[in-house]
């Protein structure tokens, strides 16, 4: 068995705090590898990692592929533009086909909640959830946690606000699991139409007024807002959304002076976050991307290295 006690990574809901910390700890030397001139270690040489994406993605897929390549694994990426039904082949059949070609791990993104869980049940290969519907996006939350830990020295006791469209956000759900498990106080800030019902049961508090929600917070994680939500009548206009919930210099004043600003990307510049804040001194948005590669290297290492204490020398 690998050091990490799970065959798959499906979500942060299933992980214990010490397991989350193991991934974050393992990501530290990985980040060091990323800083080298020759960013390649042989740890996963001979392993085959397949990314199977049923939704468009640039950064998550690239991040996983680079992480796999830096670890010495071979990667193949499969994009499925249409749903399995339109394609005429079921998700299960597609995944089994990939497995019998020799894949050791399948990294899946899918618009349906539970698609990675379905694969995990069907396959012997390791399954990593790269985002399922509005359910979980565990590696995004792990890189957010890693960034917060790096900048703040720890997670426990911090006040973290998640700002925006929580209802449709897998990033928000995975962050809530990770942050609460590691002892942070989590606040959700957004209009009632974008906060899902009964979410307080997860141990978070809900604010519709940014003045109260952002007051004295250590971290603000800004969520991407999709225009489609406005068309569905969940808020009246982009203009009003930006005025009430877009993070700008003014709203930032409510937070602690050393507040850290995160965004999972891609950013709607000037909509959910103002250019000044996005590019300002509080923002760690670019570092999040770098940390994403390190965290994914750590995860692949823990899931695939077979328990050998492989060194990271090139």
């Amino acid at each position: 068995m690998n050091q990490f006690g799970h065959k798959d990574l499906l979500g942060l809901q299933e992980l214990r705090p010490d397991e989350i910390n193991l991934i974050l700890d393992t990501a530290e030397p990985m980040k060091e590898v990323l800083g080298r001139e020759i960013k390649k270690v042989p740890t996963l040489r001979g392993r085959v990692i397949v990314t199977l994406f049923y939704e468009a993605s640039t950064r998550t897929r690239t991040s996983f592929e680079l992480a796999a390549k830096y670890m010495g694994a071979d990667t193949v990426s499969i994009s499925v533009a249409t749903s399995s039904v339109q394609k005429g082949e079921s998700l299960g059949d597609t995944a089994r086909t990939i497995e019998v070609m020799g894949a050791d791990a399948i990294i899946i993104r899918h618009s349906a909640t539970g698609a990675p869980h379905l694969l995990a049940k069907l396959l012997n290969a390791r399954v990593i959830n790269a985002g399922d519907g509005s359910h979980e996006h565990p590696t995004q939350a792990l890189l957010d946690l890693f960034t917060i830990r790096e900048k703040k020295g720890g997670i426990a006791g911090l006040k973290v606000a998640i700002l925006g469209d929580v209802a449709h956000s897998r990033v928000a759900r995975s962050n809530i699991w990770g942050l609460t498990k590691l002892g942070a106080e989590v606040r959700l800030v957004g209009p009632p139409t974008l906060i899902p019902p009964e979410i307080e049961q997860l141990g978070v508090s809900v604010f519709h007024d940014w003045r109260r929600g952002l007051k004295d917070v250590d971290v603000i994680n800004v969520l991407r807002i999709q225009l489609e939500r406005q068309q569905r009548g969940l808020f009246p206009s982009i203009r009003e959304y930006t005025r009430l919930f877009g993070l700008d210099e003014d709203k930032l004043q409510a937070a602690r002076p050393d507040v850290l600003v995160l965004h999972p990307g891609p950013v709607n510049r000037g909509v959910e976050i103002s250019p000044g804040v996005q590019d300002g001194s509080h923002s760690a948005i670019n570092e999040q991307v770098t940390n994403g590669v390190a965290v994914r290297m750590a995860l692949l290492y823990l899931l695939l290295s077979g328990g050998e204490q492989s060194d990271l020398s090139a």
């Binding site: 399995s84 039904v85 349906a112 909640t113 539970g114 379905l118 359910h135 979980e136 019902p197």
Partner: protein
């Protein structure tokens, strides 16, 4: 054919009593009922300790024929009904083509002649189930439709429903309403609440059902027409129906075994067999449904049997069709989860699954009496078995109850004297094969 059922507990839904009596069936009739009955020429069937109920009727199922014979046919569906202890089934009209005209009703009745359980077809309330123009309701009635419904979807227009209700009064046909505000439920995949929040699945709020229940009750009151609310799933609906009944509205209601036995927590398994419409609701809703059953607000337990193929269900959650194959698990679910815990008595089971459904759709009284038709369901309350999907007679293997250990299985189904199903299992035999169908190939 003459046979003697010995030692059974005869359940009378009208006089609300249970008596241990031997029961002699001769031809299609109950010939005699008494303790210690002797009938030397009759075959003796020991049913000691079993409950003998008037033949159960499932007043809500989908037999899929015509049009979706890969999911189910009238033959396989009625075989499933017999295995499940049902002596009659009410078949909803959302077939392809829909049962919105005389010829489809006649086709279903003709196909049902080969089936082993009587089928009572429901005619569509509107043409094509589009909710726009009334079907030829007079024709449907004459062809043998026992009720009107666009089940599977609701009638969005209040005005159209008003006219369906008014027009149905000419024939005293009950209108079975599928209550769903399709704007409020649009895109929804499960009950809206904590579990939908957890899973990030679009929710269907309880209000999507209740808004239509309230509307339909008001229209029934206004028109004086008979209204039956299908698959009630929320506490708010139970409250609205209870209040309407107190006002004297001519309304009846049903709930399904799955809404009485499961909550939305089951969806956390990502098992598409938990995807059903209306969705599995919260624990509070389940408690309210059970209370509504107990106090008479909910008149009937009906399966909403909705078979689908494995291929259709073995897909991502959002792509799977809604529905549960329910005919072959209804009785033991009701027994294990409602009778055993003391929520319903065997008399109430006979009321909710035989007497009331017959009364609502206008069939002869469902009661066991000398000289009356021998329609019987024998239930063994001691028989404990797991749900084995592979043994289903239904083509639909889609059930969230696979593997559940349940007590109280039907062991005999008698339709007009004919034994349609009889199990050889006894409580002692561990390899009991439940539900052996008799007289069918």
């Amino acid at each position: 054919m003459t046979y003697l059922l010995k030692g059974g507990l005869i359940v009378d839904p009208l006089e609300e009593k249970v008596e241990q009596l031997d029961l002699l069936v001769a031809g299609d009739r109950v010939a005699a009922m008494a303790p210690g009955l002797q009938a030397p020429e009759a075959e003796v069937i020991l049913v000691d300790g079993c409950y003998v109920l008037p033949g159960l009727i499932d007043m809500h199922c989908h037999l899929r024929e015509p049009g979706d014979e890969l999911k189910e046919t009238i033959l396989t569906g009625t075989r499933a009904a017999a295995r499940g202890g049902f002596t009659g089934v009410v078949a909803m009209g959302n077939t392809r083509p829909p049962a919105d005209n005389r010829s489809v009703i006649e086709f279903i009745k003709r196909q049902a002649e080969a089936g082993i359980v009587p089928v009572y077809p429901v005619g569509c309330a509107t043409k094509g189930r589009r909710g726009e123009e009334l079907s030829e309701i007079g024709d449907l009635f004459e062809a043998g439709a026992v009720a009107l419904s666009d089940d599977g979807s609701s009638i969005a227009s209040g005005e159209v429903l008003r006219h369906v209700l008014e027009y149905s009064r000419m024939f005293d046909l009950v209108v079975i309403s599928h209550c769903e505000d399709q704007d409020l439920s649009a895109g929804g995949l499960m009950h809206e609440g904590f579990n939908s929040t957890l899973l990030g699945l679009r929710g269907i709020p309880a209000a999507a059902e209740e808004v239509h229940v309230a509307r339909d009750l008001i229209l029934s009151e206004m028109t004086g027409a008979r209204l039956h609310i299908a698959h009630v799933s929320t506490a708010g609906s139970v409250r609205l129906i209870r209040e309407a009944k107190q006002r004297g509205v001519r309304v009846t209601a049903e709930a399904t075994p799955h809404h009485l036995c499961l909550t939305d927590e089951a969806v956390r398994s990502y098992d598409t067999n938990t995807k059903v419409n209306p969705p599995l609701r919260s624990g509070q809703d389940v408690a309210a449904l059970r209370e509504g059953l107990r106090d008479g607000t909910i008149d009937a337990i009906a399966t909403d049997h909705a078979p689908h193929t494995r291929e259709e269900k073995e897909v991502e959650f959002n792509l799977a069709p809604c529905g549960i194959s329910g005919l072959e698990t209804a009785v033991p679910l009701v027994w294990e989860h409602l009778v055993e815990p003391g929520i319903l008595t065997p008399v109430q089971v006979a009321q909710k699954m035989a007497w009331n459904p017959a009364r609502i759709i206008g069939l002869p009284e469902r009661r066991i009496g000398v000289g009356g038709a021998a329609n019987l369901t024998v239930i063994d309350p001691r028989l404990k078995l797991p749900v084995i999907v592979e043994q289903f007679a239904s083509l639909g293997k889609n059930t969230p109850f696979a593997g559940w250990e349940l007590r109280g299985w039907p062991v005999m189904t008698v339709i007009s004297g004919r034994i349609a199903m009889q199990t050889r299992a006894t409580p002692a035999s561990s390899d009991a094969s439940i539900g052996t169908l008799r007289g069918v190939s």
